[in-house]
Amino acid sequence: MINIKFDGRRDGANVTHDAETSGDETQADRETILSTTNVNFWYDRAKALSDISLEMYKNQVTAIIGPSGCGKSTYLRLFNRMNDLIRRSRVQGEVCFRGLDVNDRSIDAVELRRRIGMVFQKPNPFPKSIYDNVAYGPTVNGYRGNMDELVESSLRRAAIWDEVKDDLSKSGLALSGGQQQRLCIARALAVSPDVLLMDEPCSALDPLATTRIEDLIHELSDEYTIVIVTHNMQQAARVSDRTAFFMVLDDGSGSLIECDDTQKIFTNPSDDRTEAYITGRFG
């Protein structure tokens, strides 16, 4: 299998964003990191995603909101091919990372997942020490630099270093829920991804821990392209630059209703359904 390095920038993927949806002039300069074009997805025979075309830009936080069952998580998991693990699932259309179709046969999912990190809904640290949790990714990916430094810098970037530095041999499971989630973020950062996919990272956390993660997302967006799925509209409003609104269609599949700058979505959405959702009339 050819080992593709995902740093080529194919022009085809750098589609200029539709200026109509936003007045921002810098829009055209934004580099598209993730995109889907007319993507459909099926779990066995049940259609889960319908015709989704969406772009996510470099060093921005894109939030995906929508009611339960609208396919937000399914959509997110397309990018690092986690849906491969689900038997009899099928994807149609283009899912691109830096202009390369991730489902192309030349793309190795293992290499792809190093470049696209993921943080899950429920914190899932390994039953290992804090150190080993962070060192896991670098080890399996053959990192040959100074592991101690990498572990420290990853924990620092995930804003958890000060809380754990005294005992890195402590089990990751001994931490609180919020700390566990930050440990998982540190673990994801340790393999130097370009993108962080976050699947409702705060839904299992208390408000204080949620605030810390949200602050962290803000800081990380300087360096990483972040896509966050959330149930919490306030959270989307707080952390994201752009927001995509998904909804369940009549056939039970999820579809994109609109995507725009977060401010516009929450103040002046183009679609009535978006407005109905964000004002709490349904969902």
Partner: protein, 295 residues
């Protein structure tokens, strides 16, 4: 507004009756438990009073003999230990590998379900049947003779289904979130299995394996079938040697008419119990140590 609550007279709480049935159930379970314990204690006391005076260094280090006062179970004890170790070396890798394949790799298919069903059934096949298989295949066809190797292979067949089922349960108990976490970091499938799934499942796998091995140590029928000898007056020194094991030696002593051999049998039972207890203790200690390492 009409009240949706049912009228009070429709309730009949029968508090005292409900409490009474609770007490009856409690008594029933307590009696069942004590029955088991009492019978076990009675057997233990009986064996200990008969056999304890037989246990000394001489008993452990002497070969069997026609005379009860000279007889010991040296060769049977060594044979059992040989069998235990060799069976472990054969069955553990095979069983765990099969479980990993079935649980982590094999795609869902009718064939897989068929294999699973058969493994579960094999765990229930009488051990003498395995003995016949071992006799036909290992002793005769493979020409291994009545050796420790043939015996260990037969025993491995007997306990493989148990090891596979226990290992699969242990693997299945590892949450998928750990698998996803590993894959999402760019681990390959094998790295995920090797570094995440196996370490989390190993306490359960070890417990199942050691309990299965304990069963193998206590088994008699398959070894009698393949012809493990009763009278062995030398130390087994390699896998191809003839051998006997503790349960066969005990069975043999019990079947002799002289009184002296009967207390020797009781002594043999005590030694066998100690071996089994040691195996189970090992399982508990290993489980504890691995679990502590993980939490």
């Amino acid at each position: 507004m009409i009240s949706l609550r049912p009228p009070e007279r429709q309730w009949n709480s029968k508090i005292s009756q409900r409490k009474r049935s609770g007490v009856v159930f409690l008594l029933g379970t307590a009696i069942s438990t004590s029955l088991g314990i009492i019978v076990l204690a009675f057997l233990l006391v009986d064996v200990l009073t008969d056999g304890l005076q037989e246990i000394d260094i001489e008993f452990l280090t002497s070969f069997p003999s026609r005379f009860p006062e000279n007889a010991g179970l040296r060769s049977a004890l060594l044979g059992s230990l040989w069998l235990l170790v060799m069976t472990a070396f054969i069955s553990f890798p095979l069983g765990v590998a099969s479980a990993i394949y079935l649980e982590e790799y094999a795609p869902e298919s009718k064939l897989k379900r068929f294999i699973q069903l058969n493994i579960a059934n094999l765990a229930g096949v009488p051990s003498v049947v395995y003995g016949l298989l071992g006799l036909g295949m290992f002793v005769r066809t493979f020409g291994l003779g009545r050796s420790i190797l043939a015996g260990s292979m037969t025993m491995s067949l007997l306990i493989l289904p148990i090891i596979i089922v226990a290992s699969r349960e242990a693997l299945r108990a590892v949450p998928d979130s750990l698998r996803e976490g590993a894959l999402a970091l760019g681990a390959s499938k094998w790295q995920m299995v090797r570094r995440t799934v196996l370490p989390a499942a190993i306490p359960g796998i070890l417990t199942g394996t050691i309990l299965a091995l304990a069963r193998a140590v206590g088994e008699t029928a398959p070894l009698i079938t393949i012809g493990a000898l009763t009278y062995i007056a030398f130390d087994p020194s390699g896998p191809m040697d003839l051998f006997t094991v503790l349960p066969i030696q005990i069975f043999n002593w019990v079947s002799l008419p002289q009184k002296g051999f009967h207390s020797l049998a009781a002594g043999g039972i005590i030694v066998l119990l100690v071996v089994l207890f040691a195996a189970n203790l090992t399982a508990v200690v290993m489980r504890y140590r691995f679990e502590r390492k993980i939490d």
